[in-house]
Symmetry: C2
Amino acid sequence: MTVARIYITLRKGILDPQGQAVAGALRGLGFDGVEDARQGKVIELKLKDGAGTAETKTQLEKMCQQLLANPVMEDYRVEMIG
Amino acid sequence: MTVARIYITLRKGILDPQGQAVAGALRGLGFDGVEDARQGKVIELKLKDGAGTAETKTQLEKMCQQLLANPVMEDYRVEMIG
């Protein structure tokens, strides 16, 4: 089985209210060193073996483009693990 | 400035309906190789310099325990970048 991790984060310059709420809450708890926080998603996929590595990477790229990320607002990074 | 990334994922054995929805949607789009998907969060924190690395790690650990993760249901991993 192949495992892939996809990290999806908002692009720079896109407002991130969830991240701002996290930063505010941390400061409220006394963690004064927090300047900024941004929140994103990780999706861990288990894939059937069979397709080669190159083919799997192409498939993962397509999954991100078609469903997992919104390429207008979000950046994504694909990482394959074993 | 120090940047830290915190990865928060549901523990093994905890039902992940969001992940199941992602897996189902990917299969529906024709990505038949998808066996399972699990979804988690990434939080990227920008921290003021000043505290040493060891102190910062302790602070990050506390942030996870007190606010960012639910240690009963979630695992977290802290990664410091530059």
